[in-house]
């Protein structure tokens, strides 16, 4: 019996001392409140078990007796530290906290002022018995609170977090029952069956604490099986996704389940919400604004941020996730990286689908717009041939004039269609060279009917580095549109500021109808469907303006003019890097 007891004592020492060291290492790594309290908890336990080995069975002398009291006082702190650890993770009511504090403070005080602590086998007075009962009550109360809170908080958590929390709860109950049994039946000098049992219970509690606090890899692997399966399913779902919406639909619900989170949202590089789960879009947008400039990791608001190539992933974790869900958070990061790939693929698919649809629409509209002038040309020629004898010279001239006009229109249309195709295929590279803006504008306005009436504002001697042909085309299209669809007076203003050339053409016509604004720069878009397709314009002017501006690294824009009319403009780099200078 003595040998068995001694063996159990040594085993207990090894396990608890190991737990204590592990807890201290954990705190050195994390440096947060939960880590500090758990380090205190197991540090205390390890210290007690270690120091107890060197204490004589019957302490004598002031020093040894004081040491025993200190050891018991520290023992009182064990459940209290565990309680404080749990308090950092789950909400505990104020009355409970006050009771815990009060009991512990009183117990520590009593321990330190006790006249003596009887050794094993020595008789105990009523006062000491009362003290022991109070100690047992404190342990039981605090351990019960810890166990219940941890057990309940484990519900709804992923497997690993749930099992860790519940094994910790079981460990707390185990140690508490150890104290209660020890208090209820004080042991004799010789190790008896009760002492062996309490030592076994104590020993069994240690692995439970170990599993709850720092489970070994093999245990984690077994516990993680369900989450691993969910992870594989998420990966399959991600690889099947063909749009950003499908990616977030496959990813976000699984991530929230994986880490036991409340909600998750994904953002693109501009900070726009790509998808959200567990929150309304408005809340997701607010979350995005709050985390916009944050670095990766978990913030004070328990939002875990992961930066992706495609943007950001924000997960609103539970209070326990950062501590008990570390493995899941790592899995989540891996899944986030996978989501990056899936998003890139989905965007490519979406872009391709959009290109095919756009091409289909483009072909449908282009074929119609091309057919009209071709049909008229054919009609003019066949009518002339069929009715030549009855046509007067004036009619013949009229026919030829019409044919010439339609041929011009057709030629313009074909040329612009080819230009648009090149812009969309990305094969039209600008050729930037030094350009005298005033000279370019003068040439363009000289070739446009009404160009001399355009009011021009250009800084003296303004020279930029840009593709002259593209700029000429932009100015031509904007000014022509202003006369054709807007109204006089037409003004052209050019500015060079912040490294950008801004060119704006304004008119004082009726302006652009509000519902047409989103379609302004689309191919073949016309605000007034009655506008003749064959002679007024090709419907490609603004599409070309935008395409050329974008090809030069800039953009095109529209805004209403005040009090009436429209302003169309482009903003392009005035001196692009690496451009030729002559």
């Amino acid at each position: 019996m003595r040998a068995a007891s001694r063996a159990l004592e040594i085993a207990q020492l090894a396990v608890f001392a190991g737990l204590g060291l592990s807890a201290l290492r954990h705190w050195r790594r994390r440096h947060d409140a939960p880590a500090a309290w758990i380090a205190a908890t197991f540090g205390i336990l390890g210290l007690i078990v270690l120091v107890a080995q060197f204490l004589p069975e019957r302490p004598s002398g002031t020093f040894e007796e004081t040491l025993v009291k200190l050891l018991v006082a520290v023992l009182v702190l064990f459940p209290y530290c565990l309680f404080r650890f749990v308090e950092t993770l789950v909400r505990i009511s104020r009355p409970t906290r006050i009771a815990a504090d009060a009991m512990t403070v009183v117990l520590v005080a009593i321990t330190l002022v006790l006249p003596e602590i009887p050794s094993a086998g020595e008789p105990r007075g009523a006062g000491f018995e009362a003290y022991i009962l109070f100690l047992a009550a404190q342990w039981t109360f605090l351990s019960a609170v810890v166990a219940v809170r941890l057990w309940r908080a484990g519900a709804g958590q992923p497997t690993i977090a749930r099992r860790r929390m519940r094994t910790l709860a079981a460990g707390a109950i185990g140690l508490a029952s150890l104290i209660v049994v020890g208090a209820a039946a004080p042991a004799g000098t010789e190790p008896d069956a009760r002492r062996i049992v309490t030592q076994i219970v104590g020993l069994l509690s240690a692995p439970l604490f170990l599993l709850g606090f720092s489970p070994p890899g093999i245990v984690l692997a077994v516990w993680r099986r369900r989450e691993e399966r969910a992870l594989r399913e998420a990966e399959v779902g991600l690889m099947k996704a063909e749009s950003p919406a499908e990616v977030t639909a496959a990813l976000l619900p699984r991530i929230t389940a994986l880490v036991g989170a409340r909600a998750a949202a994904m953002y693109d590089r501009e900070g726009r919400v790509v998808g959200a789960h567990g929150v309304a879009i408005e809340e997701a947008e607010d979350l995005g604004r709050r985390t916009r400039d944050r670095s990766e990791g978990i913030g004070a608001d328990r939002v875990l941020l992961t930066h992706l190539e495609a943007g950001r992933l924000a997960v609103v974790t539970s209070q326990v996730s950062p501590y008990f869900g570390e493995e899941e958070l790592e899995m989540m990061r891996a899944l986030g990286a996978f989501a990056d790939l899936a998003l890139a693929r989905a965007r490519l698919i979406e872009r391709e689908r959009h290109s095919v649809e756009a091409m289909r629409d483009f072909v449908a509209i282009a074929s119609h717009d091309l057919r009209t002038p071709v049909t008229i040309l054919k009609g003019l020629s066949s009518t002339m041939l069929t009715h030549w004898e009855r046509l007067t010279p004036e009619q013949v001239k009229d026919f030829v004039r019409k044919a010439d006009r339609h041929a011009d229109h057709l030629s313009r249309l074909v040329e612009e269609l080819l230009l648009v195709s090149k812009l969309e295929a990305g094969v039209l590279e600008p050729n930037p060279r030094p350009v005298d803006i005033r000279a370019l504008v003068d040439v363009v306005l000289g070739a446009i009917e009404g160009g001399s009436r355009v009011s021009v504002t250009i800084p003296e001697g303004l020279e930029v580095v840009a593709d002259a042909d593209h700029l000429q085309r932009i100015v031509t299209n904007l000014v022509t549109n202003a006369f054709r669809y807007g109204g006089e007076p037409v003004a052209l203003e050019v500015r060079d500021s912040d490294g950008f050339l801004t060119l704006a053409v304004s008119d004082r016509g009726a302006g652009v109808p509000k519902d047409f604004e989103p379609h302004l720069f689309e191919k073949f878009a016309r605000a007034d469907p009655k506008t003749s397709r064959s002679t007024e314009g090709t419907g490609l002017g603004l599409s070309i303006v935008r395409g050329l501006a974008v090809a030069s690294g800039g953009r095109a824009w529209y805004e209403p003019n005040r009090p009436t009319g429209a302003v169309f403009g482009v903003r392009i780099p005035a001196r692009p890097e690496g451009a030729g200078t002559g």
């Binding site: 119609h368 057919r371 049909t375 009609g379 066949s382 009518t383 009715h387 003749s532 064959s534």
Partner: protein
């Protein structure tokens, strides 16, 4: 079909292209027996006109200004003027759609403009000149 002084009436419906309207008129007017009794550029205008005039033949383009296209307008034209024959005259390959529309009596692509007069005479029951 309506007659006046031995002539028959034709309604010409076209899209927004005035030059195409001129060509159709010029081809049809080669037969002095046929009178152009009105022109419209939208289906709505054509339905009004047909209800008033009851022409013998309506030359109907498909691509029209407004919300209603030619093929959609055909049954409405037939309803307001059952005596009118309808010839779908368009640049698009809509022969199948035209044949599926009972209100349309004949289809002719614009690329075959020299056949317009002969087709119109046939639909109006006139012998070629």
């Amino acid at each position: 079909m309506s007659e006046s002084n031995g002539k028959v009436h034709v309604l010409v419906i076209v899209e927004d292209e005035p030059d195409m309207r001129m060509l159709i008129r010029m081809n049809i007017e080669a037969d002095p027996r046929i009178v152009i009794d009105g022109e419209a550029s939208t289906a709505e205008e054509a339905i009004d006109l047909a209800a008033r005039v009851h022409p013998g033949l309506i030359v109907l383009d498909h691509q029209l200004d407004g919300a209603m296209m030619g093929i959609e307008a055909a049954p409405h034209l037939k309803r307001v003027s059952p005596v009118s024959k309808i010839l779908l005259f368009t640049a698009f390959d809509l022969e199948k759609a035209a044949r599926a529309e009972p209100a349309i009596d004949e289809f002719l692509p614009k690329s075959r403009m020299p056949e317009l007069l002969g087709t119109a005479e046939r639909l109006l029951g006139l012998e070629p000149l």
